[in-house]
């Protein structure tokens, strides 16, 4: 299964990555390899296996609605590339996809 250039560009757009033509080719090959490997799994006969959302045999793990203290603001901001007061500052975004 070989991905097209358009498909690679679409995936890059969804991840907000800008790729050079060279990178598009390189990822096209690498992503195609990954897909081929997963395609092997498709060969397994799963007719009697119900769709599984979670491989871990757990369910109904719930917590009580209790409040705990939050992080101090300085720690919240510690990794922020840009801040303004106690806000994170990011590039202008108008209109939502």
């Amino acid at each position: 299964m070989i991905l097209s250039q358009e498909e690679v560009n679409h995936i890059a757009l969804l991840a907000r990555l800008g790729l050079s033509n060279e990178e598009v080719e390189r990822f096209r090959e690498q992503l195609s390899n990954i897909l081929e490997n997963f395609a092997i799994l498709q060969e397994v006969d799963t007719t009697d296996v119900p769709p599984t959302a979670q491989p871990i045999p757990l369910q109904n793990i719930l917590r009580q609605d209790d409040v705990d203290s939050s992080l101090p603001c300085e720690e919240v901001m510690a990794n922020a590339p840009r801040r303004e007061g106690n806000y994170f500052r990011v590039k202008s975004v108008l209109g939502k996809s």
Binding site: I56, Q59, I61, L62, R63, S70, V76, Y87, S92, G95
Partner: protein, 493 residues
Amino acid sequence: MDYETIIGLEIHSQLLTRSKMFCRCAADYTSASPNTHVCPICLGMPGVLPTINRKAIEYVIMTALALNCSIPEFTKFDRKNYPYPDLMKGYQISQYDFPIGVRGHVTLEMGDAKTISVTRREIRITRVHLEEDVAKLVHRDIPWGDSYSLVDVNRSGVPLMEIVTEPDMRSPEEARQLLIKLQSILRYLGVSTCNMEEGSFRCDANISIRPIGAKEGFAKAEVKNMNSFKAVFLALEYEAIRQRKVVEQGGHLIQETRGWLEEGTTVSQRSKEYAHDYRYFPEPDLPPLTINPSWVEEIRSQLPELPEIRQERLVEQYGLSFYDASILTSSKPLADYFESCMKLWQGDDQERKAKILSNWLLGDFAHLLNENNIEIDESRVTPSHLIELLKLIEEGAVSGPAAKKIIEDIFHTGKRAGDIVVQQGLTQITDASDIEVTVKQVIGNHPQAVSDFILGKQQALTFLVGQIMRMTKGRVNPKLANEVMRRELEKLC
């Protein structure tokens, strides 16, 4: 050609849990400074693990039951992927193919004040599911420089319930009524504050038009950015007309997202849109849920009396009209107020008393509350204040016009009606001999009106009686004032 309007709604409401959906940060951020209700989980730090808030699940089950939904035994969370700065993880934890509630319905009661009648319309509910709210962006535009956005993560992770309806509404008014109904139900349940202006209750609408009788309609528009009931109504009115115009002028409608602007129009947002490609997949960090029927039944048994049932009971128990009962029960605090009053005003003639009370609650008292923008349960006029006043009227101690002044006084000062009557000398004058002096004075002061009456102008009598009411601060029984005035005037004829 005639078209009908087809509307479906998606309603998001924040749930009133103490903590957030997947972490223990406080969910109420209304008065919090930016980024103070935040932890590694709602910040979307790598390696953290979300945990499910049981209360949020219960609130959604409760709501789904109140909306007559089925609760499938299996439910799970999924990741909805999209890149946007309000989404800390790059995905929102939501529910895709196994929502908590499915296939319900809500009955709309479209009241008509003119005919005092109620028409019923059933709107199907597609699903009710649970997700997390996103961070809040503040846009900054510097005229001489950069424009940028500021991110406040406090809202990120607050439990958000989404209710999706089938496209069953046929007018903007029905859409507005549905929102009012849902707000009322969610408030009865106590699961959300449902305040549109503050953003705890939000609505997106899908709207299209269809030639009457046809199966297929034209492409629908998704309208966003409506932050009041009025905005929803106006935006849909605008859209319904715009779509008709496009078609009538031979244009072509496309499926698109449109934003409502305060100026009163909707604009296409498609230029900024990327193709929807959310790549949903099961949330690997959260185990699925089995909702046992016994859990559902336990929650069902705790459901409060909902507006429709209460309405029927009020009609049955107090002999109210469906119309009055439907308005009284549209707000839980109002219905609670009504019933607290009735408990304080027992004895014979419950139906007559209920009618008098309901007239006050929907008339003069409602007017006072609206004018001052105060909720009934925050008013200084408590049920015991109001009933004291109504008893004074019943006993004939206070006239109707004086009572209107007294309730205003109670409203502003919280004094008891009995005290106000004594302090301001508002006891009703019921003895004809007590007002004869006033009547004679009025006749003396207004010779023109008197001669008008003698010449046959009946309106002059209304004017003169009005003068009596004025001079006595409304203390006289209007019927009595009328009688004595007429008698005195006729002596002059």
